[in-house]
Symmetry: C2
Subunit: 422 residues, 2 copies
Amino acid sequence: MPMVPHLVTALTGPISELEQRMLDATPAIERWFRLEWMEHTPLFYCAITVRNAGFKLAAVSNDLHPGGWDLLTPPMWPLAVQSAMVAIEKICPEAKNLLVVPVNGLHSAAQVRSLQQLQRILYRAGLHVRLGSIDPDIKTSRSIESPDGEPLALEPVLRQGARIGLPDFNPCTILLNNDLGAGIPGILEDLQQQYLLPPLHASAALRRRSQHALAYEELSKRLGKLLGIDPWLIYPLYAACKPEAAFWRDELQTQVDAVLSRTRRKYKEYGIHEKPFVVLKAEGRGGTLHTLRDAAEVAILLPDPELPPEERPAFFIQEGLLTNECVGSCAAEPVVYVVDRFVVGGYYRTHAQRGADASLLGPDSGHAPLSFAEATMPPPPGHKLGASAPNRFYMYGVTARLAMLAASYELEASNPEPQESY
Amino acid sequence: MPMVPHLVTALTGPISELEQRMLDATPAIERWFRLEWMEHTPLFYCAITVRNAGFKLAAVSNDLHPGGWDLLTPPMWPLAVQSAMVAIEKICPEAKNLLVVPVNGLHSAAQVRSLQQLQRILYRAGLHVRLGSIDPDIKTSRSIESPDGEPLALEPVLRQGARIGLPDFNPCTILLNNDLGAGIPGILEDLQQQYLLPPLHASAALRRRSQHALAYEELSKRLGKLLGIDPWLIYPLYAACKPEAAFWRDELQTQVDAVLSRTRRKYKEYGIHEKPFVVLKAEGRGGTLHTLRDAAEVAILLPDPELPPEERPAFFIQEGLLTNECVGSCAAEPVVYVVDRFVVGGYYRTHAQRGADASLLGPDSGHAPLSFAEATMPPPPGHKLGASAPNRFYMYGVTARLAMLAASYELEASNPEPQESY
């Protein structure tokens, strides 16, 4: 694929050992996933940020309302279409119409391209697709200019009884491409006889990163056992700090220190000469990510030790993973897209100004295509790595699917109405 | 895809109209397939030869034990892997081991490459795969030299009670990659607790082309209705001639004449200035294909009017389709691979010495890769063809899936033990 930039990765010892183990255990891993998916329904879609630190590799975040569909390269499209077909078939084989609910607010050129690509994938999978906005500012249908000339039609969602739709468009399935970070709007509450994907409790307003991390940790331990490896090599340590704690900032400091100490011990065990760090994130999605190398930095970040409980943010503390990947001179991290239970592609998120220990997400993020599709076929069984070019796709794909499975467990645990499976 | 040769196709009026109709009806077509697959289980795999005559397009043969897996280009591999995952999940999610039964006899370099690629696809989909030969000449395990250096291990199949396997290898699923043209060997009969894919009645020794053609015709009529087109545009006319007929050669002449006459009427209706022809094929697979332009040619082909019934071949008479495709200066026809209910790719079969009205299958056939994957995404709904490069992938894929569905119907109808779904 000459249009895909050459990807430079310094594969160090442990990670290629991990990769070799995963490749050798392919039938066992795939069988494990097959049996898990029988019990746990995958979400319609998600996009997982994976970090390859050289000595360990793990999913660090899981977006359940992913944009960026336009960043998948053409060879990946058929995979996305095929996976969407499988998902639709399972949810509602009789489906004719699907309504996509995009994010509120002004739509950037990138968002328009992403929505157009998502719409094409779903159309190709066999659905009439229209975009229904829940933005209170969208009161009439409008046509948004698109960078490639074809306009995007955006219409205000209408509610009728316990269903939503558009004029002459009665969808059986609603696909949220909006994480509802500002709260759950009434128009989406108590829908009946319509599939809402993902469910409302997957929204940023209700979701808790620590709940996902718990599920991901437990699954990593089970997969680690199957692979015969220390599960720490495939999941980040973490802690949560609830705003209710009596000495809240002290509690946060204690938790940050605990994650740093546990990471330090692991670094020592593996002879890793790096300084451990944690990333402080809001429990819901969004918000600024802070990189801390010392618990004392908590006091600098939060000068007031005793904010009133209602003003305290709920924090999630995650072991920081260095990224060992770069595209050109930019630090890079793979973002892997999963539809239903299938990896459909991804891209590299890059940042020219940030280092291997920082979040690469931000207004100055760049993107590099990832030549996933061509690298998918593993070397034949028994074949040793090194004889061919490194193949990280399978390892990334296993990691991403582990995060998709963790999201299924997470949403089962957080489901306010456990009788509904979607 | 610079490594894929540019494909020259003279798209004439009617075929691009058909293509436009299919693209416009994508959601309806996909929904129709979704509902059909709920009632009719697709086969594990098949490879369909499609002929695009310019004015019509149809599947002309369906190989239920396909080779040529090495001819799929790398961008198609992930699709094949993903489809195989879906198939396995449905057949036997607990599966660990799968036994592939290859063709008997000496293995050409092309056959070895195909088997290696098939083995890799299945391994990647999550199975331990070994090759078990039913060739009576293979009495001990052997290693076949492979063109790319990696040898292929071939072992004689062992039967134990109602199961087959290999030493230390107890497969739950047997995948036949051998059409059993010489008859059903006893070692494969009455297997129990093992899935045999495709079932024995899909074998060349038992299958009848006319049974497949009947199912394909009926499905074409239903799809044609859905598309609002004359179904003749998507299926070839045909007739069968049973060896039991009293005046057998006369009967064959009558049937050949009937197919020629019906074709001639259709050509007239559509203003096609070509000479109709039929292709005479054996009802089972294999055998020489004969192109006839006049019923009188039957007497030249079969000088003896009254062979004893046991010596008479069972003939299938199919409306001949010109191929309007060429790669360079060679006549070409697409061969489309379907795994479970998904199109996973294909290639162009070419022949330098044969014309657009002849079979391109033979020892001198060539192959050209088909850049399927990149052409998969259709133009957006409402977008008119001509504004972008022609996209035949979707149309070929619909045709191939129609043939896969016809094979499901065919095997349901010919199943000697209707209680078993595989």
